[in-house]
């Protein structure tokens, strides 16, 4: 994402006047990226067991709440404030106060407010991505505390490294169009750190833990695919030079190719084309093309997609071999997919789209590949270590993991006092009765009569 001043010279934009086309495009893109978080919630939610689907959905939704507030208070400042030493932004936008309505983001033709809300959506979805690895077994308060600490200590600085003007990876010339390093490698490495602290689910590798609702997974994958166009194309922050359009198209191409790659791998290895494979392959493609969508040609996008699809399909099996419980394959899809896309830029960058940088296959030598590797592995290393330590701190202070009792009965009941589905047949409700009778507005109590009647009314309300 070329948001900093210094390298904004890659494409010269008229920077002094608010552009209505660009601004409209960015507002719509922000909304598209927002819908990825609910999409992710469904993608993950369908993959867990019946007893923890609500918790899985909530782990994403709580990020929409918490991270939005943090972003206003200090997140935007730490990420995009004036650079301090290449590692963090200064607090020049604390509370988002003192920003003019039409004040432009330096070097671009969109208001700071629009830029800030677009970037917010990235900060929201990144911690939510981690949640898939922690399925079925964490305390909800501990998760909320973890993401609060995590965005503060990991996401805001790392996003500054990659996208902030003066950020050290940005200055180095690492290409990350929309978040292969800052979002996907970051979340994947964090997932690995956190699950090493948490441990495996009860019954891992022993009990069947098949996805409880594959249509929900497909719905989630569809929403992610849709929203990802805003994520990628929007990351150019404007449409005038045609780069956003190429990024948009490359996103579609790589995703299609990765879905086919995953399905082919599965058909050869396991004998069937599964819906879970199609959904997972699509997401792997989206992840891999994220950093590369402005660097490769359409043929390059096919290559990136196929390679990511096959590699991720293979990588999701590693957890059984190494015995770590990455429940919904955040590492296998996001870390591996993010690494794939980030490194392949070093091979497939064709020049002539977002910049003139060429990869190895286009005569650019090993130079860009080396930069990409530095970017990918420094984010991986920092995120892994910091996330491991943060998870450890949360665990020591309030306990990260649910009790065995809560985990076995289901975290939905334990932390949300709800269950997702009413399976009762023939109008019954599995013996549920209101604990104290429904709370009726004052004045309506007189006419309601017996408790049975009240229970009936409650059902109708529900």
């Amino acid at each position: 994402m070329p948001v900093g001043l210094s390298a904004a010279s890659t494409v010269s934009l008229a920077a002094d006047k608010l552009d209505t086309g660009n601004t409209t495009f960015m507002i719509i893109s922000a909304a598209l990226v927002m819908v990825m978080t609910p999409g992710l919630a469904f993608f993950y939610g369908g993959m867990v067991r019946v007893k923890s689907v609500l918790n899985m959905l909530m782990m994403s939704f709580i990020s929409l709440g918490v991270v939005t507030i943090l972003w206003v208070l200090y997140g935007f400042s730490l990420t995009f404030g004036t650079d301090a030493g290449g590692f963090i932004g200064k607090g020049d936008y604390l509370g988002l106060s003192g920003i003019g309505l039409t004040e432009l983001w330096p070097g671009y033709t969109i208001p700071i407010y629009v830029f800030a809300v677009f970037q917010l959506m990235f900060a929201v979805i990144t911690p939510a991505l981690i949640s898939g690895a922690l399925a079925d077994r964490v305390k909800f308060t501990a998760w909320t505390l973890f993401i609060t600490l995590w965005v503060t200590v990991v996401y805001f600085p790392v996003a500054h490294w990659v996208w902030g003007a003066g950020g050290w990876l940005f200055e180095l010339g690492v290409i990350d169009f929309a978040g292969g390093t800052a979002v996907h490698i970051n979340a994947g490495a964090a997932a690995l750190g956190a699950i090493l602290v948490l441990g495996k689910r009860i019954g891992f590798k022993k009990d069947p833990m098949r996805p409880h609702n594959l249509p929900l997974v497909m719905l989630g994958a569809g929403l992610l695919w849709f929203g990802w166009f805003g994520f990628n194309a929007g990351s150019w922050l404007g449409v005038k030079d045609g780069v956003a359009g190429v990024a948009f198209f490359n996103t579609q191409i790589a995703t299609a190719a990765a879905m086919l790659g995953w399905l082919a791998f599965e058909r050869i290895r396991h004998g069937s084309f599964t819906t879970l494979g199609a959904a997972s392959g699509a997401v792997a493609g989206l992840v891999a093309i994220t950093p590369a969508c402005g660097a490769v040609s359409p043929m390059g996008a096919i290559a990136v997609g196929v390679i990511a699809g096959v590699l991720c399909a293979w990588a999701v099996g590693l957890k059984y071999r190494f015995g770590y419980d990455d429940s919904l394959d955040v590492i296998g899809v996001h870390l591996v997919g993010g690494l794939t896309g980030s490194l392949l830029i070093g091979l497939f960058a064709s020049g002539g789209v977002q910049s003139d940088v060429k990869g190895l296959f286009y005569g650019g030598g090993f130079d860009q590949l080396g930069k990409q590797a530095i970017g990918a592995f420094s984010v991986l290393g920092y995120s892994f270590v910091a996330s491991y330590l943060l998870a450890k701190i949360v665990d020591l202070v309030i306990g990260f993991r649910a009790t065995a009792d809560e985990e076995t009965a289901g975290v939905d009941q334990a932390f949300h006092a709800e269950t997702a589905y009413d399976f009762s047949a023939v109008g019954g409700s599995l013996g549920r009765t209101p604990a104290t009778g429904p709370v009726l507005p004052i004045g309506e109590e007189n006419g309601s009569g017996t408790t049975e009647n009240q229970a009936e009314q409650k059902k109708v309300d529900a």
Binding site: P208, E266, R269, L276, S280, V316, G317, Y320
Partner: protein, 112 residues
């Protein structure tokens, strides 16, 4: 009286029902069931992780008949349900002490 219970493949249900009707059976009860016999279950794969599903979906058909009709009725069901492939199911009968038609209070074979 005898209670005849048949556990068969779900897609054979219509044929069995038709055969019972032409035989003259007036009523029956059908429930969805799951289980396994010699064929065991099947395998499902999720992201490469294989799960053996032990219980296969079946339908259970229950019919009350008079003693004299029992053997013949069993043959009718077996003929209608058979595909010749593994997993066709089972049919058995047990003696029944009494039966009552709830609406009229009739007892024994009259209640059938």
């Amino acid at each position: 009286m005898k209670l005849i219970t048949a556990v068969v493949k779900p897609y054979r249900l219509d044929d069995v029902k038709d055969a019972l009707q032409s035989f003259g059976v007036n009523g029956l009860t059908v429930t969805e069931a799951s289980g396994y016999g010699r064929q065991r279950g099947h395998t499902e794969v999720y992201r490469g992780a294989e799960y053996t599903i032990d219980l296969v979906p079946k339908v259970r058909i229950e019919v009350l008949v008079e003693d004299d009709d029992a053997e013949q009725l069993i043959d009718v069901i077996v003929k209608a349900a058979r595909t010749g492939k593994i997993g066709d199911g089972k049919v058995w009968s047990v003696p029944v002490e009494t039966a009552v038609r709830v609406r009229t209070g009739e007892r024994g074979p009259d209640a059938l």
